[in-house]
């Protein structure tokens, strides 16, 4: 069996537009005055056909509309895309089709259309349940709108998740405890809880560099935030299954698990990345980041991929570690073995186990909650030892 089949096969579709750019966001998102949705639809369909030509005989497990703000897409565009997908691949019986949505009233009005088009899961960018913080985070919605949108989403879709950003400026542990408590009440079996990260190239990044971004937690407080989050979600029955993702068992994002399990995924749309195993070689694909450049390339009948690169064995192993150690299920030892050509790891990581950073079973090697806190170092350590 080809290795990717352990993870499955998914399709990621990137919609690059937002109504406004948030100061913390370093995703490939753009604000455009006018978007010709018809043109974009055609381009996506063309790319689906192209990828389908390479992978058409596969069963598709998941589709994910990410962005940007995919809830700016018209329902009929989503419908046309899903229709073409259904004609291109055999859809898994339990196919998961997720769309990221802003929790505003305009978007909520479209939920029924998305549902009708085939979307069965939404992920709402709630970010905070506090109005003052929402404003600081540059969000256009308020907490009440978010609660309303969540209610509508829960009525409309089989599965609903929402995102929160914590460890925010001037946030105290008890603030977060209260807010997360409310969120757990609202949750429908899945939550993505991200510690605020200041990325360079963002408005927050510039402010931090200028020394003007104050009130961020220090390392100790940020550890306390993380630990509080772990214990509260666990107590509520939606424990972490990845660094920042929490779900009741069985309700994990299957699409994201494809990434973390090093499955195959096609990436369509500006700046989308893909991993496809073709003819025994694992190919990394990348498309042009600029929306207009991508659109005009595809409209001209050319491939949207700006890069196709064959990964060598050590790169595949590196990605396997980088992605897989994020999950609580950890790495499959048999897969690790075949990727690095080593049979027995029992003595390699003994000390890391003694430090409580990893735990092992005969079939799995996983980072503990403690290990996940220093995951970047831990991965570096494990990767170096496996060389």
């Amino acid at each position: 069996m080809e290795d990717w089949r352990h993870g499955g096969f998914g399709l990621y579709l990137h919609w690059p537009f937002c109504q406004s750019k948030c100061p913390y966001c370093d995703f490939n998102s753009h604000v455009a005055a006018r978007i010709d949705q018809g043109n974009w639809q055609n381009a996506y369909l063309q790319e689906i056909d192209r990828i389908g030509g390479e992978t058409g005989n596969r069963v598709l497990n998941t589709v994910y509309f990410g962005g940007g703000t995919p809830s700016l897409m018209e329902g009929r565009v989503v419908g046309a895309i899903l229709e073409r997908i259904g004609k291109t691949w055999t859809l898994a019986n339990d196919i998961e089709i997720t769309l990221e949505a802003n929790p505003g009233s305009v978007e909520a009005a479209r939920f029924a259309d998305y549902r009708a088009a085939g979307v069965n899961r939404v992920s709402l960018g709630v970010q905070s349940l506090r109005d003052a913080d929402l404003r600081r985070l540059g969000r256009l919605h308020d907490a009440a709108a978010a609660r309303d949108a969540l209610e509508i989403a829960k009525r409309t879709f089989d599965r609903v998740s929402f995102d929160l950003i914590y460890a925010r400026q001037d946030q105290t542990l008890s603030d977060w405890e209260a807010e997360l408590g409310e969120a757990l009440q609202l949750a429908a079996g899945h939550l993505s809880l991200y510690q605020l990260t200041i990325e360079s190239g963002t408005a927050f990044g510039d402010r931090l560099a200028a020394g003007k971004l104050r009130g961020l937690p220090d390392e100790d407080l940020s550890v306390d935030f993380f630990e509080l989050t772990q214990s509260m979600t666990e107590a509520a029955g939606i424990p972490a299954y990845e660094v920042s993702n929490h779900a009741e068992p069985g309700n994990e994002s299957r699409h994201n698990l494809i990434y973390w399990r090093s499955g195959d995924f096609a990436g369509i749309g500006p700046g989308a990345h893909g991993r496809l195993t073709l003819n025994g070689r694992r190919i990394a694909t990348e498309t042009a980041r600029n929306p207009n450049a991508w659109l005009s390339t595809v409209m001209a009948g050319r491939s949207g991929d700006s890069l196709r690169e064959t990964l060598d064995q050590s790169q595949i192993l590196e990605e396997f570690l980088v992605m897989g150690l994020r999950t609580s299920e950890g790495l499959d030892v048999a897969r690790l073995s075949s990727l690095c050509g080593k049979k027995d790891f029992s003595s390699d990581f003994k000390d890391l186990e003694d430090f409580g950073l990893i735990s092992t079973t005969p079939h799995k090697l996983m980072a503990t909650a403690k290990g996940r806190l220093v995951l970047n170092r831990l991965i570096e350590e494990i990767a170096t030892r496996l060389e």
Binding site: Y12, E219, G267, A272, H273, F355, I379, E380
Partner: protein
């Protein structure tokens, strides 16, 4: 061959910057020894490093022909002696090769400590000494005060001191005339068996080893079979020449003459400064007195920053050693720093010069471990062992007592700074020997442990006196003291490269400084790391480097895989530049900073 009466051999004694090299250049220029267009500033200091630091490391010589006022043409041989205490033995040999000295003193500054040591060497060698007051053209020049200073400090009659400006050429003819009239001609017997002193030797990439000699008795000719009396080695002379300062072949050298020879000698190591050269067939009955082999006194480890450069370092060290018999080396392995060399030097400056040359001429990045001196270990079984590397310190139960080398230091300083100097010397376990004044300058003599001086004494001295102090020393012997080996443990594991010998009373302070510094330099790990200084099993200072608590990326999805993979590759490459210590990785930079001599 030149008549004895028409030869004058001399050296120039001066403090750094007092104008020795400029005066030498001026003498060469004014006698037309070197064509004007070939003159470059400071002709005799040939190495870049010498010119940059304003010091002479190897003795150089030049033969000048000077038509004097008496109508005769004299041959003047100038030996430019090394101007630094590290090369005191070389200086003493060079001094024995000539009969007189010019004592050059800056007319605005007076006598400095370094001048003093060299002038005493000249006096010891029986030299006639002509005082020269340089920089007389400077507004700050005060020749009368400086004359008085020479008489006070050195006890030399300075009434006939020649005022000059080497820079402008003022007074240079007077110097040339004084060399002929005031310095004695050499003595020697042309018919006696050959007796010549090996003054210096160096490696020339075209000629091989070049040996500089001073003939005492007899005559040496091209083709002669000669014997080195100390080493017993025999060679045939391929080339005989004088330096003007370019090599000019000469058929023979007689008594009183100075020149160079080549004789298919492979390495400088095969020649010993101070050795006596004689004929193989008809040797002289006894060698010149005073020979002693070069003895390294300061040791340190030299390691390549990049372990792959070890072979290049070996190659470079071997090449340098060809030209410098006074520096010793042997391979060393350190758990922290990998493969390198333990090298011995005549002193700190010698160490710095060699390290600079390795880095500059051979393009190597080096880690220099803390310099250490040679301790004498008196074992309980009566054996006496030399300890060059603190890491080799045996179990104390076998050691009866430890002796360390002491120096006699002479420091001259404006009296404003005297208190600071005394405090510095006391802090370094010094014993005051003498304190005198010449004008507003104080001269202090201290008995100090060499180990305290190699650490960062120069830098402290410079900073507490704003650079106004001058300092010189000579080794004065060994003395027992309460010395201990201080180990540094990182995560309970001793780091051999950081071990040092310290006085028991100063161990806590030194240990504390070291662990504090390391705590700053070692990056945090996933676990906490104790950093300790210990004497034997007893910990005397301890710091704990707390564990890295959080380092995780919040978001990582399909689009992040490439970026995260590339980051991981970069991290792994960075890890390779770390030195593994048990479970702890110490970056190269940490070692360099912790071991830096000026810390």
């Amino acid at each position: 061959m030149t008549e004895l009466s028409q030869i004058r051999n001399f050296s120039i004694v001066a403090h750094i910057d007092h104008g020795k090299s400029t005066l030498a250049d001026r003498l060469i220029q004014m006698t037309g020894t070197v064509a004007e267009r070939d003159m470059k500033a400071q002709l005799l200091d040939s190495m870049d490093i010498e010119r940059e630091r304003g010091i002479t490391i190897k003795a150089n010589t030049v033969r000048i022909e000077y038509p004097a006022k008496d109508g005769q043409t004299y041959v003047l041989n100038l030996i430019d002696t090394p101007g630094h205490v590290d090369f005191a033995y070389e200086v003493s040999r060079s001094m024995r090769a000539v009969e007189g000295s010019l004592l050059v003193v800056d007319a605005s500054q007076g006598v400095e400590a370094q001048t003093l040591a060299n002038v005493y060497q000249a006096i010891d060698a029986g030299h006639e000494i002509v005082p020269v007051l340089n920089k007389i053209d400077l507004p700050a020049a005060d020749p009368d005060r400086v004359k008085e200073n020479i008489e006070d400090v050195i006890g030399l009659d300075a009434s006939d001191a020649i005022p000059i400006s080497a820079k402008t050429g003022l007074g240079i003819p007077d110097v040339l005339e004084a060399i002929v009239t005031r310095l004695p001609a050499p003595k020697g017997d042309r018919n006696a068996p050959l007796k010549a002193m090996l003054v210096d030797s160096w490696y020339d990439s075209y000629l091989g080893v070049v040996v500089m000699i001073r003939v005492m008795d007899g005559v040496i000719r091209k083709g002669d079979r000669i014997k080195m009396m100390q080493t017993g080695a025999v060679y045939g002379i391929d080339k005989l020449a004088v330096l003007k300062p370019k090599m000019v072949d000469i058929p023979e050298l007689g008594p009183g003459e100075i020149g160079v020879l080549t004789a298919s000698i492979k390495q400088v190591r095969d020649t010993r400064v101070g050795d006596t050269i004689t004929h193989e067939r008809k040797p002289c009955d006894k060698p010149l007195p005073g020979f002693k082999p070069a003895q390294p006194v300061v040791f340190c480890g030299l390691f390549p920053v990049d372990a792959n450069d070890f072979e290049a370092l070996r190659d470079a060290i071997e090449k340098l050693a060809l030209n410098d018999a006074s520096f010793s080396y042997e391979m060393e392995t350190s758990a922290a720093l990998g493969f390198g060399f333990r090298c011995g030097f005549l002193g700190l400056l010698h160490l710095e010069v060699i390290r600079d040359r390795l880095e500059r001429e051979y393009d190597l990045d080096l880690i220099t471990t803390a310099p250490s001196v040679v301790f004498k270990l008196h074992m309980k079984d009566g054996e006496v062992r030399d300890l060059h590397n603190p890491a080799d310190m045996p179990d104390l139960t076998y050691v009866d007592h430890i002796e360390e080398p002491r120096i006699k230091a002479t420091i001259m300083v404006p009296d404003d700074y005297l208190g600071d100097i005394l405090k510095l010397c006391q802090d370094r376990r010094g014993i005051q020997l003498n304190l005198t004044y010449a004008g507003n300058r104080a001269m202090v003599e201290y008995d100090l442990p060499l180990a305290e001086v190699v650490f960062d004494f120069y830098d402290r001295l410079k900073s507490v006196t704003k650079g106004y102090a001058s300092f010189d020393y000579q080794l004065s012997g060994y003395r027992e003291d309460h010395l201990v080996k201080m180990s540094i443990l990182v995560n309970e594991e001793p780091v051999d490269a950081l071990a040092m010998m310290v006085h028991r009373d100063r161990a806590e302070a030194r240990g504390r400084a070291m662990v504090e510094k390391l705590k700053e330099l070692i990056p945090r790990h996933m676990f906490k790391i104790p950093i300790q200084a210990a004497i034997g099993a007893r910990v005397i200072a301890r710091e704990t480097l707390s564990a890295m608590r959080k380092d995780v990326t919040a978001k990582c999805y399909g689009g992040d895989a490439t970026r995260k993979r590339k980051l991981l590759e970069k991290q792994k490459a960075g890890k390779k530049r770390m030195r593994q210590f048990g479970k702890v990785e110490i970056p190269q930079e940490a070692f360099i900073s912790a071991l830096k001599m000026d810390n």
